[in-house]
């Protein structure tokens, strides 16, 4: 197990394995996401109360899930950076933060556009929406802090600490709708219970969520590869790689 852990820390090994993995992530992820979206938009029945505006759920929930999951992954990587000083963990945090920023923005935006016709307002300062906005600022803060520090090692540690401090926000987002009165409704998808919607609605939603995770995996791989190349551009294996013309 430890050997695998050390192998995982090797940028060269990661570059090779991710190159082989990426086509699969992209193709299967796009197929699942598109299947979920087309099914959800055109074939799923409309909701008895909200009519067709609820179809925004098929992108709102995948982006909201991923916005939080990506942060949890970053927090795990931050622990690895601080404790084991593994370079690849820091590369992951750096590569994923902009993706998290865009996806969090999308979940807020789709939520606002969905809120207008259903609730009657674009925005309200309830616990769920506010904690999600804090998540957006956390992603922005991670990116800004990383850019502000020139030294690679100090930047890695400072960013890791910021990511860890921000991780308390994740349970607040998740449980905000249960702990406090909010305008936002509780979760439809729960790990322990059956979803509170029929299968012809939750199956496409699940497909879209899975597709989104795979596309996120692809984005993480390609951005990590870029970062690895930047850091290892003087090494022998990068020379062999680029001179052979293989990508």
């Amino acid at each position: 197990m430890w050997q695998f852990f050390h192998k995982l820390g090797s940028p060269k090994w990661f570059y090779g394995i991710s190159t082989r993995l990426m086509p699969w992530l992209l193709v299967i992820g796009t197929a699942l996401l598109m299947a979920g979206i087309v099914w959800g938009l055109a074939f799923a029945p409309k909701d008895y109360l909200q009519g067709d505006s609820y179809r925004i759920i098929f992108i709102h929930v995948p982006t909201a899930f991923l916005a939080q999951s990506a942060y949890i992954m970053m927090a795990v990587a931050a622990v690895v950076t601080l404790v084991w000083r593994m370079k690849l963990a820091d590369v992951f945090v750096k590569a994923v933060a902009p993706v998290g920023l865009v996806i969090t923005f999308l979940s807020l935006f789709t939520g606002a556009v969905w809120g207008k016709p259903t609730w009657g307002t674009w925005w309200i300062w309830d616990a769920r929406l506010t904690s999600m906005l804090i998540l957006l600022f956390l992603y922005g803060g991670v990116i800004a802090l990383d850019r502000a520090i020139n030294d690679e090692k100090s930047a890695a540690r400072a960013v890791a600490v910021l990511v860890l401090v921000g991780v308390v926000n994740i349970p607040i987002i998740k449980y905000s709708v249960e702990w406090w009165n909010t305008l936002h409704q509780p979760a439809t998808f729960k790990l322990t219970e059956k979803p509170s919607m029929p299968a012809e609605m939750w199956v496409p939603l699940l497909l879209a969520v899975l597709g989104m995770y795979l596309i996120f995996g692809w984005l993480a791989c390609i951005r990590m590869q870029t970062e690895i190349l930047a850091r290892e551009q003087k090494t022998r294996w990068v020379k062999d790689l680029v001179m052979a013309g293989r990508h």
């Binding site: 909200q50 601080l82 016709p117 259903t118 609730w119 009657g120 609605m201």
Partner: protein, 156 residues
Amino acid sequence: MHPIRKKRLTIVLFLLAGIGVAVGLTTYALRQNINLFYDPSQIAAGEAPHDVRIRAGGMVEKGSVVRDPESLKVRFRVTDFQSSVPVEYTGILPDLFAEGQGVVAMGKLDAGGSFVADQVLAKHDENYMPPEVAESLKKTADGQPVANGAAQSASY
């Protein structure tokens, strides 16, 4: 595990625990401010301040909506199945506003204990279903009104 790494891991865990406790205590202390709205029970118990802009939330009581025929004025009662508060509002209601649906109203409690709202938002629950299913559920529920009421109070 290497002793240095063990030490670093302990520091990280303490950091996390410390932040967790600090944020937990803060949000606990601010819990009433974080709540978006007051329940009708809280208002009935006198927990909500008068003449200050607050939000009240709950279900629109069935059969309580009275619309003024000449203007956009509407009166209804908001309930949490224990207490209820009368609400007055003038303006356009959201599409999802209906008897038996959740609402969050923003406004002031007047001296008489009724709530004068200047904004009414619809609050929906986490349940989604096709119209046909909702229709047939309604039919079966009309046969057993008790079970329906219990289910609604649990999901609001």
